[in-house]
């Protein structure tokens, strides 16, 4: 049987190629994701092993706050403790280290480095061997007006030793003399980050706070192990300083882990999309197996007639599936290498440039890809194989391969049950059940729609085809009939389009709603004429002194800054919005439900009404707020406000942080002016011209902020693009098989006067109807899902559902184009049908 299976498979190489293609596409994204994350993980591992090569111990604050997406913010280390460390037995050398936000401004006034790319650091350059930097050219910086920078930044900005360089950091925007150029280990710039380096006192004062560094890097004298060295230092440190000592190996490991965690989020995100792609691919595989077994009906019936058992026919097809699955997944794994490069380029296009050296392929990536691909193929082949086994031997005498279409009652019942169960799960999650229930509900609704597909395909397809038939005459009406003549096949072919379109529509609807919401929220809360916004998110931003500098610009009547800081509230990590209530008054307008925004003093906090209700907080309740350096700040609730999402769920006075080690940045500076001529130019000179954020008018700012969700949407759509490609390939395969199956009919049509272009038109319109059928049902499902998502997120401040009319039209137009494109090759094949062969009766 094995030999027969392989012979029969080989006899139809074209079909084999088509089936493999579906598997290759389905698995390549998965393997691409694996290879991509392996590669960047390895790159970072190598980098940090390198960086901490000479560090035997690492002294840092033991107080920290975790921030979302795998990071932490830590308290500072007083430089005063350095002599103690230097005196500890086993220590050869030690130096302060800072990795804080600093932005080098190029000669053209544009900051060096990407806005959302690798971080831009400021740090310390010291002569200590434990220091991370080596001076390549020039000398070490000395005093408050000298700096060095990394080789890559110097090359990028065209700087040479002796140049005057502007740097923006926490304490403001200053100019320095470039006295040297440094390299980091053997590399000119680690991970594409930029570095502005100063002597320790300047770095502390400019980047953090005078007297503070982030950590000490310690080099041992070789007399003891790293563990003993760490213990030796720890025992000498004053416990009240709350410092901890780690071995060099440990800090390298921890840094790798943190990066690994960040990469992990990315990998999970990508894996979700690759699984979607694989799921969609499995539909295509299932469809191809279904069609080919139907077309092989006679062949299988003949086998049965001459004595093959049911099981043998089924097994033969499964053996074929295993072979195709293994080969397809292997090829998919190999094409994953190309995909991994594509992913890198894609992320770079969205501003997330990731350094990578070479290519790293873990054996597990190959094993997982091939196993998953093969299993999916086998699962997709089971039903068709069983169906093939059930072929009555008599079918050998029959003529054509028509797939049986049942009454559909069972199908309808299953679909309705799934729909009801899904609806119930969704309702439950809306009523507050776990998000897992929501996921299950959505899956069930998808299952219901797909199960009902064969029942829907005919009426919906006929409906969509009506205008085409009316416009295109006989070719259109034949295309319409062809599209629905096998509803099961049409539904299966359209299913990948349906799923892809539903997801795209849901995200588009979601994004449209968020956009509207953000637009409304900013419109209400932001009362200024201009805004300066920092491109940085999470790390760094605008110096808090900028608001005062802007306020002093002639023509400016009021200016205030708004920033975000991570703190712990009742033990949980949270970002709080930081404002200056005096200058913010009338400019940043929180919609207060209780209390007064102006009453926000250094001992107070504002929370959203919904959060207060959820937590049972009342006005005057004191929240236990812990700052990054471990300082406790009991803050009393002074008021509650409505509409969150944009300006934070918690608001505090900037004075809360006075005296702590917290580094403060503003994300935005809001400005009102007297409207005098030239005020915008003056503002520009004070901000953007110095590389400090970007200056926007009120309308520009609102457009920009509400449009930020578009970037995420574009990324998601780009990732879903692969699923769409698989869907297109699915249509191509089905059309090819249909054209092959109908070659006689096409030959007859050509004989009685159908031109090649009419033949092309018929296949193309059939493809368009199939694609639009998937798109229309997908859009309907997607809008429903989008509305649901908004409903679930209602508690998080997004409530109004906006119908994405423009987006929907774009999706339908794209689906139309997809239909036309998918038909190109099958239509070409159809026009090449040999009339003689097709109509010959033997």
């Amino acid at each position: 049987m094995l030999r027969l299976a392989s012979k029969m498979a080989m006899a139809r190489k074209g079909r084999l190629v088509l089936t493999s293609l579906a598997i290759i596409l389905g698995t390549s994204f998965l393997s691409g994701t694996f290879i991509f994350s392996d590669t960047i993980t390895k790159t970072f591992d190598r980098l940090f092993t390198d960086v901490f090569r000479d560090v035997d111990a690492y002294v840092r604050s033991s107080s920290f706050i975790e921030v979302p997406f795998g990071g932490e913010q830590r308290g500072s280390t007083p430089i005063d403790a350095l002599p103690t460390v230097l005196e500890a037995p086993g220590v050869a050398d030690a130096t302060g280290d800072i990795q804080a936000f600093a932005r080098i401004i190029g000669k053209d006034g544009e900051p060096i480095g990407l806005d959302n790319g690798p971080p831009t650091f400021g740090g310390i350059a010291s002569a200590s061997v434990a220091g991370l930097w080596t001076i390549e050219e020039g000398r070490l910086p000395e005093g408050p007006s000298q700096m060095v920078m990394d080789r890559a930044s110097a090359d990028d900005g065209g700087f040479t030793v002796g140049d005057t360089v502007r740097v923006n950091a926490q304490s403001g925007s200053r100019e320095f003399e470039l006295v040297g150029i440094a390299s980091y280990g053997d590399i000119s710039s680690p991970g594409g980050a930029t570095f502005a380096l100063f002597d320790q006192p300047t770095a502390s004062e400019f980047l953090l706070k005078p007297g503070n560094v982030d950590a000490f890097l310690v080099q041992g004298d070789g007399s003891m192990s790293q563990e003993e060295l760490a213990a030796s230092i720890q025992s000498r440190l004053d416990p009240s300083l709350k410092l901890e000592v780690l071995t060099g190996a440990r800090i390298a490991e921890e840094t790798k882990d943190q990066i690994g965690q960040a990469i992990g989020f990315l990998t999970t995100f990508l894996t979700i999309f690759s699984l979607i792609a694989l799921g969609i691919g499995s539909f295509v595989i299932y469809n191809v197996f279904s069609i080919t077994t139907a077309q092989r009906l006679r062949e299988n019936a003949l086998l049965r007639a001459i004595g093959a058992e049911r099981g043998q026919v089924t097994r033969m097809l499964l053996v074929e599936a295993v072979a195709i699955g293994v080969v397809g997944s292997l090829l998919g794994f190999l094409s994953g290498i190309a995909i991994s490069q594509g992913l890198k380029a894609l992320l770079a296009a969205f501003g997330g440039e990731i350094p990578s050296q070479g290519l790293s392929i873990a054996p597990s990536a190959a094993v997982i890809t091939i196993v998953v691909g093969t299993v999916v193929t086998i699962v997709a082949a089971i039903l068709p194989a069983l169906r093939a086994g059930r072929v009555p031997p008599l079918a050998a005498m029959r003529d054509t391969a028509i797939e049986t279409v049942g009454t559909g009652r069972t199908r309808l019942v299953i679909a309705l049950v799934a729909l009801a169960a899904g609806g119930a799960a969704v309702a439950a999650s809306l009523a507050g059940a776990d998000n897992l229930v929501l996921g299950l509900g959505v899956m069930l609704v998808f299952a219901a729609v797909i199960t009902a597909g064969p029942l829907l395909a005919k009426p919906v397809g006929l409906g969509i085809g009506r205008p085409i038939a009316a416009l295109r005459g006989i070719t259109g009406s034949m295309a319409r009939q062809n599209a629905v003549r096998n509803p099961k096949r049409t539904a299966r072919t359209a299913a990948p389009v349906l799923i892809g379109v539903a997801l795209v529509t849901a995200f588009t609807a979601f994004a449209a709603s968020v956009r509207t919401q953000v637009r409304d929220a900013i419109g209400e809360q932001f009362r200024g004429d201009y805004a300066v916004s920092s491109p940085q998110q999470g790390f760094g931003g605008l110096p808090v002194s900028l608001a005062d500098e802007v306020a002093a610009v002639p023509g400016v009547t009021q200016a205030t800054g708004l920033g975000f800081v991570a703190v712990k509230i009742d033990g949980e990590s949270r970002f709080v919005a930081v404002i200056d209530p005096t200058s913010a008054s009338g400019l940043v307008d929180y919609k207060m439900v209780q209390g007064d925004q102006r009453s926000l003093d250094a001992g107070g906090i504002l929370v959203t009404q919904s959060r207060a209700e959820a937590k049972g907080w009342a006005l005057g309740d004191v929240l236990d707020v812990q700052l990054v350096d471990g300082t406790e700040r009991p803050l009393a609730i002074r008021g509650t406000f409505d509409a969150e999402g944009f300006l934070g769920s918690y608001v505090v006075n900037q004075e809360v942080f006075a005296g702590s080690d917290t580094t403060l940045f503003d994300q935005f500076v809001y400005v009102t002016t007297d409207g005098s001529e030239g005020v915008r130019d003056a503002l520009f000179d004070a901000t953007e011209a110095r590389g400090l954020g970007s200056l926007q008018s009120r309308d520009e700012f609102i457009d920009d902020q509400s449009g930020q969700i578009n970037q995420i949407l574009a990324l998601i759509n780009a990732l879903l693009g692969l699923s769409i490609i698989i869907a297109v390939v699915g249509i191509v395969i089905t059309l090819l098989l249909s054209v092959y199956e109908r070659r006689r009919e096409i030959g007859l049509l050509r004989a009685v006067g159908m031109t090649r272009s009419q033949t092309w038109g018929t296949v193309t319109w059939e493809s368009v109807i199939t694609s639009l059928y998937g798109a229309v049902s997908g859009v309907a499902l997607g809008i429903g899902m989008g509305a649901l998502l908004i409903g679930v997120l209602a508690d998080d401040g997004i409530s109004a559902f906006t119908l994405p009319i423009g987006g929907t039209i774009v999706i339908l137009v794209i689906s139309f184009v997809i239909g036309v494109l998918a038909a190109i090759y099958p239509a070409w094949r159809a026009t090449r049908t040999d009339i003689m062969q097709a109509i010959s009766t033997t």
Partner: protein, 229 residues
């Protein structure tokens, strides 16, 4: 001629034949005699390696695929042994298919006359799968007639029918020539079917092996026997 080069198979070799307007001609010959090839060539379905084909004043040999296709729509009708009809179209749609492809309405009065002649007016809305084999072939005849072509080519039109239904279909073809003035060329190996024709052309090994006017089944069978020897 058919085929080329040293290994050429001469499916048709030096055949010169004329089919007169308004007559029913049958082409007969044993399997492999080239009768189907002859029909395909003169119908513009297949190309010649040398020689020429003319339908009315149209010279087929130099025509492009598009021109040939358009010629087939209006000047040529076809009736095949099986797979004559498009399964997704109704009987009426099948009948007017060549006209629809040409984007023409056709001569409605003529089409009505044709439909009445084949006697399937009450079945026009049915799909081919809902029609019997004989009815399907009658629809095929009607389609061939619908565009009032210069010539209708029929390739074993009764090959898949039982003899009674076959006679019915042949009767219609005969009437299309006698009553409606059409021109039919039919390929067959069935002596009885051939006897419906006005004239029979016999082929053997790609060459003309005789002609017969006013045939009867007996005469035809005799001739076939002679050819076989």
């Amino acid at each position: 001629m058919y085929g080329h080069g040293d290994n050429e198979v001469r499916a048709l070799d030096g055949v010169t034949v004329e089919f007169e307007q308004g007559r029913f001609t049958a082409i007969m010959g044993p399997s492999g005699s080239g009768k189907s090839t002859l029909m395909h060539c003169v119908a513009g379905l297949d190309s010649l390696s040398s020689g020429s084909v003319t339908i009315g004043e149209h010279e087929l040999t130099s025509m492009s695929d598009g021109d040939l296709t358009r010629l087939r729509r209006t000047q040529v009708g076809f009736i095949f042994q099986a797979f004559n009809l498009i399964p997704t179209l109704s009987a009426l749609e099948n009948i007017v298919l060549p006209l629809s492809l040409a984007g023409q309405a056709g001569d409605q009065q003529w089409i009505d006359q044709v439909i009445d002649t084949i006697g399937l007016r009450d079945r026009l809305g049915h799909r081919p799968s809902e029609l019997s084999g004989g009815q399907q072939q009658r629809v095929a005849v009607a389609r061939a007639l619908a565009s009032k072509p210069a010539v209708i080519f029929a390739d074993e039109p009764t090959g898949n029918l039982d003899s009674r239904t076959g006679h019915e279909v042949l009767g219609f073809m005969r009437r299309a020539v006698t009553d409606l003035g059409q021109t039919i060329v039919m390929v067959t190996h069935d002596a009885v079917a051939a006897s419906y024709a006005d004239r029979i052309v016999f082929l053997k090994d790609g060459k003309i092996a005789g002609e017969m006017l006013a045939p009867t089944p007996e005469k035809v069978l005799d001739k076939i026997k002679n050819l076989g020897e």
